[in-house]
Amino acid sequence: MKTQKKWDNLATDTAERMAQASRFIGNGKRVEPKDIVGLLEAVIRPGDRVNIEGNNQKQADFLAESLLKVDKSKVHDLHMVQSAVPLASHLDLFEAGIAKKLDFAFGGPQAGRVAKFIKEGKLELGAIHTYLELFGRYFLDLTPKVSLICAYEADREGNLYTGFNTEDTPVIVEATKFRQGIVIAQVNKIVDKLPRIDIPAGWVDAVVESPRPFFIEPLFTRDPALITENQILLAMLSLKGIYAEYNVSSMNHGIGFLTSAIELMLPTYGEELGLRGKCCTHMILNPHPTMIPAIEEGWVDTIHCFGGELGMEKYVAARPDVFFIGPDGTLRSNRAFAQTAGHYAIDMFIGGTLQIDPWGNSSTATANRVAGFGGAPNMGCDAKGRRHSTPAWLKCGAELPCMEDQIGKMPRGKRLVVQGVETFGEGREPTFVEELDAWALAKNAGIELPPVMIYGDDVTHIVTEEGIAYLSRCKDMDTRMAAIQAVAGYTEIGLKAKPETTRRLRDAKIVQTPEDLGVDRNRATRDLLAAKNMRELVSWSGGLYEPPARFRNW
């Protein structure tokens, strides 16, 4: 005898919640800011998985603060699943007992509190992910029941425009709504007509016009005035010893002054090396202002963006041949797609790090901060599922002496993963260390694994002011460690280097000094920068780039 099984429990549950919330929701799904706390109390149940859209850049800050005001007897022990927790309110939720468990990707400014709360038992850590990994789990075992998202504008029906800073919104909404969850959006403005519809009204349950525009940070702007001569030397080495050596056409540039220096030296030193048209033609990148001169000089074919960057809106919109611009004429960034391209499609990832251990593992973790991973590990690794080939990928793979031990005579390529660091970093702390602080963090915060941003077997090149270690050319761990020592300068690790070994490595082109590469250290001056300050970037952009106040010295 077959009993009638119910197959729509999720939808029924949502309908019950929405019925309780209906008194707060007016025409066009509109909720008044004063009713938002009541709405949240009506739709959220204890223990729910909740997502507060916390991107790298734009933040659903009004909704986060409103969630903090709910009656704790009604809403508590929530399981937060979200990309980033950069706002104080994200962690205040745990302090107040409204939230209990966290699965996330990136800590940002709250990294110290995340570590502290884990230790004090205020926060139960699910796991620290990369963006793609977490997005994957949104569609597997971490689907949000309620998502509190963020958009620029809504129209009278509840359609949303996420525009330039679309970032994570599509992936959150799709996961939530297609598992019958509830989507609540804060918008800066409700308008009659949207430039375009990024999220259809049918996938949105409530819209609130936030009393103030959402918080957004220009995280990817680097002021050229702050680039040092050491960073310029590293950029010269990278361009000559890696970009030119492998003809790297597609890549992601991590955030930092080294990559900014490289971007600003494409029209000068890169031009001199004849790399235009060969290197940096296809990039996965936020709209870095320091890319403006290279774009203007015709270096770049395509840039797809994870997120936007404050001040770059007009410039990007005016370069639709380069960026992904909608029919309305504005950019749509999309973190999930950009990360997918960053994982599978690019030939190289280049970025900095805080610490590198003797085996080449690197981490940005410090002993008391759970900073998370963000997107770097997906780009800073060899994508094992990659099947298309490009010259740079093939060349790097062909160099690997250890490949034959694993797959015999079968040819295969390898992603270039470049770590560019000064041997002593900020505060004159050594970059090369015996043990990563990640170990101390794992112990302090009770995390199973030391959080490693990029594992040693994925790193193919380390660039320092001493030269380049071509780890892709090392046949075994001893050679790899010697190559790392050879470029580690006067750090404890570097002092272990044996001159005769280093000499052999240089002859074998496993280590190359600036002199070996024909890079003149005396030329490493700021004169190589196509723009030396923010104002020159504005000039390059023909006045289209509008730097945020904090970057303007006028």
Binding site: K532, R550, F551
Partner: protein, 318 residues
Amino acid sequence: MSKWSTLLSRSFLESNARERALGLVDDGTFTELVGPFDRRTSPHLETLGEAVEFDDGIVTGIGKIGKTPVFVISQEGRFIGGAVGEVGGAKMVGTIKAAIDFADRIAKDYPNATDEEKPIVAISFETGGVRLHEANAGLLAHAEVMDQLQKARHKVPVIALIGSKVGCFGGMGFVAAATDVIVMSEFGRLGLTGPEVIEQEMGKDEFDSADRALVYRTTGGRHKYVMGDCNFLVEDTIAAFRAQLAELAKLPREKFEELRRIGSEVLVAKQLKGVALAAEMQPKDSRDVWVHAGNPDPVSLALAPVADFRAQAKRLAL
């Protein structure tokens, strides 16, 4: 080190202290005094186990512009933010003193010397004031420099040049104010309490030091020019600062009194009018003062090229 001819077109802001010193005077005329080879390093930093610099972060020396002997002091912001300690302070004092002694000698031995042939002092400021590591010694150095400025008055014109990255703040802000002439670029910044310290003491609502546009709007060269806190606003090149210096070098010495912003009863009265105006206006932003001074469109004025700005800007009349 670049050749002298290439130095001239360089950005003053981008250059280091030695490049500025060399470029300000005629080609090949600069002799550095107590230079890095003399290794006069700070004893205090050594005691604290901190890194020292062989010039203690200040370049001092003498050169010529045309017929004018120029005693040059040039601070280096890349060493402890250009903060002034005992050795650097002594180098400043020694240089001004040498200029005064030289002026006395010329007056005695060459009574018919023209103004153009008499020495001047040029100080390129790049500092936040006292080097905290050296506490009292650093403060004392400031007092001694002030003392020399008083002695130099009416005798050797002291010209402040402000166009560096760090700007001129703290105790050295007072020192700059006490010079005869101030020449700035739009990137130069001048003030007493630095932006970070104001924020720390008064809060972010009072002054957000991360808001660079606000910082430059309040302490930068253009605003100082409108306020009359600096005398001349020049382009950001070594050549432009040098040209202004050369023009000043020819000026009759008594004219320098007219260029001072402080230091007489008349000027005190004028400053007090400024205080009264601030109390009455309660300006929320430097741009309010620009409007009051007769600049109806301060935003476009701030964006105009320096030459146009100089031609158009109305300066605050007190």
